[in-house]
C-alpha cells in the first residue's frame, strides 16, 4: 500500500476519533451551545492550512535554488490543499458567527486576516493557471510562495492592530487559556486528523501533477 493510501486510512480513523471527541467527549459549551462545536473544525483547519503554506515556502526556496520539479509540484499541491482548508476555516467562521453575533461577517480580526491570506494564495493558483509556459509558471509561483509566507505575519499583525486597538478583542478565539483541557484535546485530535487528511490530499495531487508533467515531457 502506498504511503498516500496509508495516510488516507489513518486520516479516516483520525476523523472518526475527531468526531467522537467533538460530539461525544467534549461537553456542551455553556454560553454558546452546540454551535461552538464548529470550533473543532474551524481551528484545526487554519492550523493545517498555515502548516501547508510553510511547506510551500520551503518548497519554493528549494525550487528556486535547485529547479527541482518535485519541489514545484509539492508547492503547488500544498497551496491547493492550504487554500481548501482556509476556505473551510472561513466558511465555518461565518457559520459560527451568524447565530453568535447575528451577522455572517463582522470584519473580525482573525477572519479578516485569514481571508486576505486566502486571497494571496488564490493569487498564487491564478498565476500558475495564467502562465502558458509551465517552467515560467513554476519559477514565478515559487517567488510568490517565498514572498507570501512572511506576508502572512505582516497581514495578521496589521489587521489585528487595526481592529483591536480601538475595540475590544475578538470573541472568536479558540478559547481563552483557561479553556478546559478537554476542549484543547478535541481540537488537537481533529488537528492531527486534518493534517493526515491534508497530507493524503497532497500525496494524491503530487502524483497527479507529476504524471501530467511526464505526459508533456
Amino acid at each position: 500500500m502506498s504511503a498516500t493510501r496509508v495516510l488516507g486510512w489513518l486520516a479516516v480513523a483520525g476523523l472518526g476519533a475527531g468526531l467522537v471527541m467533538a460530539f461525544g467527549v467534549a461537553p456542551r459549551e455553556i454560553t454558546q451551545g452546540n454551535v461552538q462545536r464548529i470550533m473543532y473544525v474551524h481551528v484545526p483547519a487554519v492550523w493545517v492550512a498555515y502548516l501547508a503554506f510553510l511547506v510551500v515556502c520551503g518548497a519554493s526556496v528549494v525550487y528556486l535554488v535547485r529547479r527541482s520539479a518535485t519541489a514545484d509540484t509539492l508547492a503547488a499541491a500544498c497551496t491547493e490543499v492550504g487554500v481548501l482548508f482556509l476556505g473551510i476555516n472561513i466558511v465555518t467562521g461565518a457559520i459560527w458567527g451568524k447565530p453568535t453575533w447575528g451577522a455572517w461577517w463582522t470584519w473580525d480580526a482573525r477572519l479578516t486576516s485569514v481571508s486576505v491570506v486566502f486571497l494571496m494564495y488564490v493569487g498564487y493558483l491564478l498565476l500558475r493557471r495564467m502562465t502558458d509556459d509551465p517552467e515560467r509558471g513554476a519559477r514565478l509561483s515559487a517567488v510568490l510562495g517565498v514572498l507570501a509566507a512572511p506576508s502572512i505575519y505582516l497581514v495578521h499583525t496589521s489587521v489585528y492592530w487595526w481592529r483591536t486597538l480601538h475595540q475590544p478583542p475578538s470573541l472568536l478565539k479558540a478559547g481563552s487559556a483557561t479553556m478546559p483541557a478537554v476542549f484543547w484535546l478535541a481540537i488537537l485530535v481533529n488537528f492531527v486528523a486534518f493534517a493526515l487528511l491534508a497530507a493524503h490530499f497532497v500525496g494524491r495531487r503530487v502524483r497527479l501533477l507529476a504524471r501530467e508533467r511526464e505526459a508533456h515531457a
Partner: protein, 238 residues
C-alpha cells in the same frame, strides 16, 4: 586541434510542453569559423540559438560556449556571446547614442563617447547619433542592433536572420564585418532563409530538419544553387 571548440553542442534536446523542437542536435564551431543554419520554419534554428544564448534551457544534452555550460554557467556564457535576433533591444525615446551606451553600461563596460560614435560610424549611423530611435526606419534599427555588437566585442556571435531588413550596402557591410570578426578569432552561428546571403561568410552550412542536423558540410566552392539543391534533398518541410 585538441582545444574545445568555441561552440559545442552534443545530443541537444529541447521540448516545449509536449512539443519536441530539437531532438538530437550536435554541432561544433571552432574559433574563426562561421556556420550558417538552414532549415524550414519550425525546424528549431531559433531555438538552438536561444539555447546557446542562455535564453532557454535544454531538456537534455550539452550546450557549451567558450568552455562554459549554457545552462549551469549562464552568466559566464552571457559575457561571451552577442545575440542579434528579431527583438531589437531599442528604447524608442532614447537616442542611438544613449541606447548603445545603456546596453554597454549594463554589461559593465564604460565606453567613451568617441568609442560609441565609432561604433555608430561602423554601421553608418553616426549622423543620427543624437536622434531618437522612434524616428528610425527598420533598416536603421537593424544596423543599430548590429552596432551594439561592435561595442560589446563578444567571442561568439549568434545571429538570427541578420541579413533580413538590410539593403545591398548593409549586407555588404555585414559580410565584411563578420569576416573581420572571424579573422580576430571569433565564432559565428547564424540562421538564414536565403541561400545566397550568408554564404560569403559561412565556412559550413548545417541543415536542421526534423529536430536534427540532417547535413553538416563545408561550403567550399558551393554557390547558392548548390545549396538550394542540398536543401531540397535534406530538408523536410514540416
Amino acid at each position: 586541434m585538441t582545444a574545445e571548440p568555441l561552440v559545442h553542442v552534443a545530443g541537444l534536446r529541447k521540448a516545449f510542453g509536449g512539443h519536441l523542437v530539437l531532438d538530437d542536435v550536435s554541432l561544433d564551431v571552432q574559433a574563426g569559423e562561421a556556420v550558417a543554419l538552414l532549415g524550414p520554419n519550425g525546424a528549431g534554428k531559433t531555438t538552438l540559438l536561444r539555447v546557446l544564448a542562455t535564453l532557454t534551457r535544454p531538456s537534455r544534452g550539452v550546450a557549451r560556449v567558450a568552455g562554459h555550460d549554457c545552462a549551469r554557467e549562464a552568466d559566464a556564457v552571457r559575457r561571451r556571446v552577442g545575440l542579434v535576433a528579431h527583438g531589437s533591444w531599442l528604447y524608442e525615446e532614447l537616442t542611438a547614442l544613449e541606447n548603445l551606451a545603456f546596453w554597454a553600461g549594463l554589461a559593465g563596460a564604460r565606453p567613451g563617447r568617441d568609442e560609441v560614435l565609432a561604433a555608430l560610424a561602423a554601421v553608418e549611423l553616426e549622423r543620427v547619433a543624437g536622434e531618437r530611435v522612434r524616428t528610425f526606419s527598420l533598416g536603421m534599427r537593424r544596423r543599430l542592433s548590429l552596432a551594439r555588437l561592435v561595442l560589446a566585442r563578444p567571442q561568439v556571435l549568434l545571429l538570427d536572420e541578420p541579413f533580413a531588413g538590410l539593403d545591398q550596402r548593409g549586407g555588404k557591410w555585414l559580410d565584411a564585418h563578420l569576416a573581420a570578426f572571424k579573422g580576430a578569432g571569433g565564432a559565428i552561428v547564424l540562421t538564414t532563409h536565403s541561400f545566397g546571403r550568408g554564404l560569403a561568410v559561412a565556412d559550413r552550412i548545417a541543415i536542421l530538419s526534423g529536430g536534427r542536423v540532417a547535413l553538416d558540410t563545408a561550403v567550399g566552392a558551393m554557390d547558392a544553387d548548390d545549396v538550394r539543391r542540398l536543401y531540397a534533398l535534406h530538408a523536410e518541410e514540416a
